[in-house]
Symmetry: C2
Subunit: 884 residues, 2 copies
């Protein structure tokens, strides 16, 4: 390692594939040099050198000699001498990480200047004002970045000088002014006990170290955490011959996109500043000109810019974001990178580049970020026309909705029935609140994380939601909400933007994105490219319709328990649970059967020709009963207030319910009496559900449609239990079919580590598996979702113990490992087994790609995330086989 | 399978290793035949035939012909004809499973008789009474076993007859009486619509089917479930030439043990009945004679019995339980099998056979069942001198204890301080009750299973315990307990026998087993044989002392949280949890440090020369706070009763605590904020604990003892979190050591599927792993122990979905699979890593053997189960490598 590692690459030696080693900027400069575009000569010090530096607190041995040698090469190429005579060579020292971190890392320009050679530079440029301006810029940057002084002290000196002279702009300052300013700058450095080295090589060494150090500055660390960029990548340093956009009116510096990043339109889009250096553009001191103007101002340079842009776009097969400098009429490229773009632009660009023959289908689908599609699928607050937000929270479910504040779900239903639009505002939501969420335009909660109940349910229903907003306090006595600064009564109007996490007072204007032809064409292209099936999770027939509309190829998870939660259904369900005899339960289940039947009929009709995977009852029964604490407090209250017979009756009922709640209460319901376990102990529930499924399937089949029912059992951990349940249900199935032909499948979710580990045996009883990765994550990691997100998980993400929240994106090393083991064992035991995933992860692009890689047959996502999953599936099929 | 399978073996063709195929009885008869002992000729139909029969509802094709052929061979050997002339051959059709199921399966004697040949048999035997007695026996058995009639009807006929004749004993009935009885028997059969076949071969065929069927009769199914015997083994059928112990006074039948099964003394031990058939011994109609009497009664037969016993014992290398019949002076062996014996006898026999040179060490340790040692380790109620029990429950923790009933733990402490012995009686116990359990002689609860809190804690403390007794109802208003029939006040005396699960009124006599030299010698032998280390789990210094006494080679799990539960400690702990600032917490932890330090000093002193593995704080913090519901109800109560300032103060405090409890409340605490997660968020707690450990270790080292401290982190799921904790603790460690030399280890528990799956990475940070199989079982199976044992698990065991409770014996296919994966990956990453287990399973013999097989270094068991684990470990090392 020590002897043979090559730590320095001249631009001629690198290429675009060396981003990890040379950083984005270094690789771009190398590639542009390689394909014959004009870049200033230079070289790049690798990220490996950076990592060595952090590990050993010094540069690698021998590196400095190599750098000096590379400078000598630059001198030879340019016919100049670094910081010396007769012609002076100055350089920029530029950071450049493998992944773009715009503005986070540091760069020093004009390096190599000192009191002596500034005079030389004056003479050579025949422009002393320019020379002294360059010198002060160098000192200013060096002081801030290398010596660690505050930048505002230097700015104040310049402002003071302009004030003295009654000037407005920097460029009005004269050579003399800059000379005086340079003296004052030096004074600031001296009084801070620092030293500005005279020796250009010393300057270079310190600057390189400083750029390395900038990798670990606070803002860079935070940026990486937010953007999930690894801390161990390190930055490269490019040392580039200076070219000057501030040599006069025939000079300029600018930034251009090869297509419009907002609309995708095919035209140069960008701006430049005449007679300026790079940081002037950023500083916004002067208003730059649109790039079209360059055509008339410096026509030759414009032509070269256009030509370079075309070459780069075709070469990189993507829209580029280009930095350039024109020095006295000569055009130089300083950087090229993939352009950031809006979702709409991304779609249009992908389709256009495909049409232009630059890209294949497989390449084109990779030009859109799956998450970007969210922007297109949901209405958003029109920020230009909305006022200031009154609260902020976690953007839990995208889209915007407005309505009157309601503080409980029953009130929501009542208002809705009156034709009012409502927004449900709660501390947190529970299973009982689902009917309220269903009728609301949006949900807003004070507590909970991205995967809290409110967030999950809202996403599943496609309702905008903001959760965990610390800016609001609900006052149930007053019936109102304290926002950060405003108090609002129940029934006052608010707007919730779940895409941005912002809450607005009143009903603010929204923009509703249109899903144009481009969206449809793009999705069509994705479908051509992908291998993975994309199904949808749906709890109601309405969600099934939406799922089809969004391109789902079936229902991967129809949760039947939500069907028990409607206003007419929950009382029957509760009575069923409270009853102690099989007969009573059976007769109550008979009442629920037609309700389930109707739902299933709708599912099958909607999914004509596509599979509908229906999961039998999963949650613990006590989830359908009132909460224990509320009952207990209620009972005590009633006892104390007891005055009438009516109260006594209520007391008795409550005590009865409490007894049942107590008998069903669990310490850890997540890993308690639920799923197939309920099916084993109370077989009559599953039997009713299976009868409803088959009756509905037969009915819809008679209507001439193609039905593909699949019966899915939740939480299986052992082949024996699934076998028992299957054998028991067989009788009901035979009775329903009475010899009629109907193809159906029988399978199970794999939601526990044991289910995954014993997949070989389970596969002998199941025709399909569906990974329930929410539960599998909870058990594999020992993470109770509701608990850890409220307690230690934020700390774990902050500390970098986990890079991502494992409930948002699959934990590949743990949960993914189990999935691989399960897949191998399942397929070995039953080669034609169908294995998919229906956890929340089915809508997460990274997780979708993982599912593709390990060989799953399909993913099932919330209806709103189906397009995202389709795109991710397409991208997955274009990737070379990665190691996980 | 169909063509070549050999379904029938003559006795000459089998041997003792063919138990699985021939059943215990068949293999024994074959082996005795093979080594030249006298057995009646016969053949065995295999268990494979039985399984074929169950699968296809008929005997395998060709089998019947083979059976007929085998009968012909019998005829040739004996010079007799099956059911015919001139000399009649009768057979017995005997069940015999691979594993002994005494009395569960069926057998038919005297088969081959009918109305015709009974006369022939009279002549041949010259004993018509004997012939008709034999015939009625045959009819009686055939009717019951083959035709499925109730036995009591036949018994009634005989009783009636004796009454008529004013006789007492069966043998007083004459030929004529039996003839009449036979006619009545036939009448019973006819009126039941059944038929007694005349044809001996038809009798044989039906009897074989009936014996096969008996494998699935209710009592056999239940017996197998209780004894964890596989349902798929099936039974073999041996067809044996009849010999008659009821031919006269020179005939007899009996059962003998080759040594005394109660004491182990080396002498024949058993009894016989003169002039009787096998079932007469069982029926207890006549009192049998002790086997010594045979020496004078039929001396030649006795000599042959003694000789056979010696040969069999040496041949089988174990004490034998032998059935024999003497027919007219000729001695026949009918069965031999390993003798059941008491624990004391088992020890003595193992040691004696070792001394006699019959066994090696490795063979001798296999003559004692690990669980048998329990009988030796705990006092028991002397059932001969105690009265009837007043209640029964689950025998959760062995041993017996007597004391005054107390209904809450504080009362227990108060009484104990007065010098009273107490028995804690509760509906169920919680973490808060531990101080009460600690001072009680025994624990008795109305609810909970074998692994409920009360059971686990009591076993860990070696306190006798009965849990889940439905025979008791606590009446807190009256302060007393309703037992099934008796009401007892608090402070009345009871005796609890946790070995048998029985509760007695008053202080009944106990027998206290003495651990004599034999116990010590036997354990010494086990230690020579085993490879696996056996450590102990200990929560207090007292338990550590006991652990050493019982042979533990160190502490495998010292749970530090129990150290926070003492009366002086819990208030500080609660205050610490309630405090909101780091400073406050630190100062409170400073108060806890010396308390922990003192405990650790005692541990290290006791374990001089042995490792002490100390686990840092594990449970969720809310476990140290009062329960939520109690607080809520209390607050409402207080509000309503509020009259004085004092109440208001209490109200405020309660509300404060409730707020904290709410903020710490979890939906699934088991998989929530606990273990290392608490250590990551509140580093100061672990830091205090590590300082206390090192200070104590240094102190005891200075005393000249050898200390081997090992710091164990609970619940790690990811290398990064362990690394973070280790790095943070390093500073505290360095400060405590201040350069002093002290070897310590740093490791982690593996309690989650993810911990096991990512063991490779974790091993880079940990010097040792200890499987926490309680939690690992909970997460792998998704089984919350407290919940599933109270809800569906009993049903799962009953239905045979699981053969054993996975919390009692390791679930090898799920949890065991993860352990293997973890072991492989851990060892690969760090070849010298030490891997053990410290869950409850460490004291379960089956689990200990599994741990041995997969290569673990040690198991850690509760102090009381250390000898059991040592024996299991020794046995494990003598087993040939089994497939799991």
């Amino acid at each position: 390692m020590l002897t043979n590692t090559k730590y320095v690459y001249n631009f001629e030696e690198g290429d675009k594939n060396m981003k990890l080693l040379l950083g984005g900027k270094g690789a771009g400069l190398a590639e542009m040099t390689r394909i014959g575009l004009r870049t200033p000569p230079g070289f790049t010090i690798t990220t490996e050198a950076c990592n060595y530096y952090f590990k050993n607190n010094k540069l690698p041995p021998g590196l400095w000699d190599t750098i000096v040698q590379s400078v000598k090469t630059l001198e030879a190429k340019t016919g100049r001498v670094f910081g010396g005579a007769p012609k002076i060579l100055l350089v920029s020292v530029r950071s450049g990480a493998p992944v773009s971190m715009p503005g986070m890392l540091d760069t020093v320009l004009n390096l190599g200047m000192n009191d002596q050679n500034v005079e030389l530079f004056s003479k050579e440029s025949n422009n002393p004002r320019f020379a002294w301006d360059s010198y002060r810029r160098f000192i200013q940057m060096f002081a801030r970045i290398v010596l660690g002084l505050k930048g505002n002290k230097f700015d104040e000196v310049i402002e003071k000088k302009k004030k003295e002279l009654n000037l407005t702009n920097d460029f009005e300052l004269s050579e003399k002014d800059w000379k005086e300013i340079v003296q004052e700058f030096k004074q600031i450095i001296r009084s801070a006990g620092k030293e500005l080295p005279n020796d250009p090589y010393r300057q270079l060494e310190l600057a390189i170290n400083a750029v390395f150090d900038s990798w670990k500055n606070d803002r860079a660390v935070v940026y990486r955490r937010i953007n999930k960029i690894s801390d161990t990548m390190g930055t490269a340093v490019s040392v580039v011959t200076m070219v000057y956009g501030n040599l006069g009116t025939n000079s300029a510096t600018g930034v251009v996109f090869t297509r419009d990043p907002n609309t995708g339109e095919k035209k140069l889009y960008g701006e430049y500043l005449n007679n300026a250096q790079g940081e002037d553009v950023v500083a916004g001191i002067r208003t730059p000109s649109a790039v079209e103007k360059l055509k008339s101002e410096i026509p030759n340079a414009y032509t070269e810019l256009k030509r370079s842009a075309d070459i780069l776009e075709e070469h990189y097969k993507d829209v580029q974001d280009i930095e350039f400098t024109i020095q006295d009429g000569t055009f130089y490229l300083l950087q090229t990178r993939s352009a950031k773009r809006s979702a709409a632009a991304a779609l249009k660009i992908a389709l256009d580049l495909r049409m232009e023959g630059i890209l294949t289908d497989g390449e084109a689908v990779n030009l859109v970020q799956p998450e970007q599609l969210n922007q297109l699928l949901h209405p958003q607050v029109d920020t230009k026309r909305a006022g200031s937000p009154i609260a902020k929270g976690l953007a839990a479910s995208p889209g915007a909705g407005a309505g009157k504040i309601v503080l409980d779900p029953d009130e929501a239903v009542k208002m809705k029935e009156k034709g009012e639009k409502v927004v449900l505002v709660r501390n947190e939501t529970l299973a009982d609140d689902v009917h309220g969420i269903a009728v609301s335009e949006a949900v807003l909660t004070a507590r909970g994380g991205m995967t809290s109940h409110a967030a999950v349910v809202a996403r599943a229903m496609g309702k905008p939601a903001i959760v965990g907003s610390e800016d609001l306090k609900i006052d149930l006595d007053k019936r109102g909400v304290n926002f950060k600064q405003d108090f609002m009564w129940e029934h006052q109007e608010v707007t919730v933007d779940g895409t941005t996490g912002l809450v607005f007072k009143g009903n603010v204007p929204l923009t509703i994105p249109e899903l144009g032809n481009e969206f449809r064409e793009f999705m069509e292209m994705c479908r051509r490219v992908k291998r993975l099936g994309v199904l949808a999770n749906a709890n109601t027939p309405e969600e099934a319709i939406l799922a089809r509309k969004n391109g789902a190829e079936g229902i991967g998870l129809a949760r039947t328990e939500r069907m028990f939660l409607g206003a007419e259904r929950i009382p029957i369900m509760r009575e069923m649970i409270m009853s102690d005899t099989l007969e009573e339960r059976k007769s109550l289940l008979e009442k629920l059967l037609p309700l389930q039947y109707n739902d299933f009929v709708e599912f099958f009709r909607t999914m004509d020709g596509f599979p509908v995977i229906i999961r039998l009852l999963d949650p613990p029964l006590h989830e359908f009963l009132p909460k224990k604490e509320e009952l207990m407090v209620g009972i005590v209250e009633t006892r104390h207030k007891r005055k009438s017979q009516a109260k006594d009756k209520k007391l008795k009922e409550d005590e009865e319910v409490l007894r049942k709640v107590n008998s069903l209460a669990e310490f850890n319901p997540m890993i308690g009496f639920r799923g197939i376990r309920v099916g084993v102990v109370y077989p009559e529930i599953y039997e009713m559900q299976v009868r409803a499924i088959l009756r509905a399937a037969l009915k819809v089949k008679e209507e001439g449609k193609t039905v593909i029912p699949e019966i899915m059992i939740p939480l299986t951990i052992e082949a024996n239990e699934l076998k028992l349940v299957r054998e028991r249900l067989q009788k009901a199935i035979d009775e329903e079919l009475k010899g009629k032909e109907l193809k159906y499948k029988f399978g199970t979710m794999i939601e526990t580590p044991r289910g995954a580990l014993t997949a070989g045996e389970i596969a002998e009883v199941a025709e399909f598996f569906s990974f329930g990765t929410n539960d599998l994550t909870q058990m594999t990691l020992g993470f109770s979702r509701d608990d850890v997100e409220a307690t230690f998980l934020p700390k774990y993400l902050e500390q970098g113990i986990f890079k991502v929240n494992p409930f948002e994106s699959l934990d590949k090393n743990g949960v993914g490992e189990l999935m691989k083991i399960c897949f191998e064992r399942g397929v070995k035991a039953r080669p034609d087994i169908e294995i998919g995933i229906c956890g929340e992860h089915g809508g997460d692009p990274d997780s979708v790609k993982f599912c593709h890689r390990i060989g799953l047959k399909y993913v099932s996502a919330s209806p709103y995330r189906v397009p995202i999953a389709i795109l991710a599936a397409a991208q997955a099929n274009t990737e070379s086989k990665e190691v996980n």
